[in-house]
């Protein structure tokens, strides 16, 4: 490999990375522009809200249920002999509300919703249904992407909010039934350091996760090429990228809101 060829390879690699960012940015911009076409996306909104949100409740609550139980047991295991056991309530509340409910629910829904969106739109793309929509004068972004992104943004906080309640309640019950902590002690710890900021932080974070998962799923689906294999790759990429972006956003919100703040 000559020097010129090496430089060319490096340039191509850089261009592809920048092109990916550029395509993503342009896709987001085009979606925002398409959101003005309310008449196109509004009728589809509740359908996707049900698919992305309501139908995701069982898995989200299931995860929250066991997360709360495990957290309370883990807390009691860690606190034995050193920290008062009423801090189990504090740990369960803080951890579930601010971190585990949004992130675990987001990751679970990234697999379920992201893959669903990518596979559905990928199939439409490879079967030229998207082209047909354009032929019928529908803006594919307004018809396919905007309602999904809005549904994800709206319904993720609802699902995560319920997951928070279920997770804390599960931890509470586990503390009473398995650890022998009285209800009053758990509630004392629960209230000890609770602030509304905890809930607000978790909900805003989950809304950003919902937006990202829906957007990535749509982008990967509409970018599918090459038939069923391309659809599969799109679904896989959607899940992987969604998971990565969820963790990046998690760190982003922690840096923006938690670093140096004292709510």
């Amino acid at each position: 490999m000559t020097t010129a060829q090496g430089i060319t390879t490096l340039g191509r690699w850089g261009r592809e990375r920048v092109e990916g960012l550029g395509r993503s940015g342009r896709f987001v911009g085009d979606t925002l522009v398409a959101a003005r076409d309310v008449a196109t996306w509004w009728p589809q909104a509740t359908l996707h809200a049900r698919t992305l949100g309501v139908s995701s409740l069982p898995i989200a609550l299931y995860i929250a249920l066991f997360t709360g139980i495990v957290l309370s047991l883990l807390a009691s295991y860690s606190f034995t002999g050193a920290v008062p056991l009423y801090f189990v309530g504090t740990l369960v509340e803080k951890t579930i509300t601010m971190e585990l409910a949004p992130v675990l629910t987001g990751l679970a829904l990234a697999g379920r919703v992201g893959a669903n969106i990518a596979a559905e739109l990928g199939t439409m793309k490879v079967t030229e249904q998207v082209d047909a929509l354009e032929t019928l004068a529908y803006d594919p972004l307004a018809y396919l992407v905007v309602p999904r992104v809005l549904a994800g943004t709206l319904m993720f906080p609802i699902v995560v909010g319920l997951a928070m309640v279920v997770g804390v309640a599960a931890g509470w019950l586990a503390s009473i039934l398995l650890l022998g902590i009285s209800s009053e002690e758990f509630v004392k710890g629960l209230r000890l350091f609770f602030t509304v900021f905890d809930v607000r932080y978790g909900l805003v974070k989950s809304a950003s996760f919902g937006t990202a998962v829906a957007w990535i799923g749509c982008m990967q689906g509409l970018g599918a090429r090459g038939g069923a294999q391309g659809v599969g790759r799109a679904a896989t990429s959607a899940v992987v990228y969604s998971a990565v972006v969820i963790l990046v956003l998690d760190a982003f919100w922690a840096v923006v809101w938690l670093l140096g703040s004292n709510p």
Binding site: P43, T46, L47, A49, R50, G53, V54, L57, V83, P84, F87, E93, L154, M155, I158, V159, G161, L162, M164, V165, V168, L190, R191, L192, F194, T195, V196, V199, L203
Partner: protein, 334 residues
């Protein structure tokens, strides 16, 4: 189908929102429609107190901190919402303190008299006291500050321990063992001494007890004498005794005066006697030395014999004169 979707989504949103808001309000212990009273307290510093920090009266949660704001003159005003029916103690003050080792704070409303003897707290309360209806407040040191002080103390202790470790070598250990042994022996001796002294003390105590009993008996006798004295006083015997004693004293004073005069005379006689003795001594020394007529007479036998002879002749002469006066006395007129 579309209506079913709308219903399901709408119900989920309503239920989710209601459950989340309800849970939040329950955890926050929000109460609507309750008649809560509000008091405001002034502090220099509120430490780790936050909105929602519990307010405690006599150890019972009675409200919470509802707001804090910076005031002029470097003070902070904390607004506290008290539960209905909560009665404040007389002359109330507010103390902010940590309620556990884990950073929990609370505001304790107590009486000024119950603050204790902490000078810093008293100073803070005095500085935050005004006649404006705002309660004076003080902030107690948090665990971190106390821990820092304890840390310094621990450091000093470690330093001392290190020095002790350096100083406490094998030689020191042997000496200490010897000292302990000596101390043990000394303790034994001390215990023995104490036992002996204890016996002595017991004896002394018995003696003292006997002495006290004697004193009691003496006191009883004295009491009896006093009683007799009282009875004698009533018959005039004491007056006579006192009079006799006075006469005796007067006679004694007179005798004493005479003795003093006699003593002065004796002193003078002594002086004269000493002078006569000195003179006699001088004469005796001269006689002894053969000085003077008497000395020569005493020390020279010849002179004695001559004198003796002369005296005999003089006696013969006197006898002859008496016998024959005309031979020696020739009385003529003209």
């Amino acid at each position: 189908m579309k209506r079913a979707n709308d219903f399901a989504v709408g119900l989920t949103i309503i239920v989710g929102t209601a459950v989340l808001i309800g849970a939040t309000l329950w955890i926050k212990q929000a109460d609507f429609g309750r008649d809560r009273s509000t008091v405001v307290a002034r502090f220099h510093d509120v430490g780790g107190v936050r909105i929602g920090t519990p307010v405690v009266v006599r150890g019972v949660r009675a409200g919470r901190i509802e707001g804090m704001e910076l005031a002029d003159s470097a003070f902070v005003l904390a607004k506290m919402a008290l539960d209905p029916g909560v009665m404040l103690p007389p002359d109330p003050v507010v103390l902010l303190n940590e309620s556990s080792l884990f950073g929990e704070w609370q505001a304790t409303i107590t009486s000024r008299d119950a603050v204790g003897r902490d000078e810093d707290v008293k100073r803070q309360i005095a500085e935050t006291s005004r006649d404006d209806g705002v309660l004076p407040g003080a902030t107690l040191p948090d665990i971190a500050r106390l821990t820092a002080v304890a840390g310094r103390i621990a450091g000093d202790v470690a330093s001392v321990a290190e020095r002790v470790e350096v100083a406490f070598d094998d030689q020191a250990a042997r000496e200490m063992r010897a000292s302990v042994r000596s101390f043990s022996e000394m303790s034994t001796l001390l215990a023995q001494t104490v036992r002996e002294q204890s016996n002595n003390l017991t004896t002394a105590s018995s003696d003292v007890r006997g002495g006290v009993q004697s004193l009691v008996r003496s006191a009883e006798l004295l009491k009896a004498v006093a009683e007799r004295f009282d009875s004698s006083t009533s018959r005039g015997e004491v007056k006579q005794i006192v009079g006799d004693a006075g006469e005796a004293a007067r006679q004694l004073r007179e005798a004493s005066r005479r003795i003093a005069v006699l003593s002065a005379q004796l002193e003078r006689s002594q002086v004269r006697l000493e002078s006569v003795l000195a003179t006699s001594d001088s004469i005796a020394r001269k006689i002894q030395a053969g000085e003077g007529s008497l000395g020569m007479l005493v020390n020279d036998p010849t002179l004695y014999r001559n004198a003796d002879s002369a005296l005999r002749q003089l006696n013969l002469l006197l006898a002859d004169v008496q016998k024959n006066p005309r031979r020696y006395i020739n009385l003529r007129i003209f």
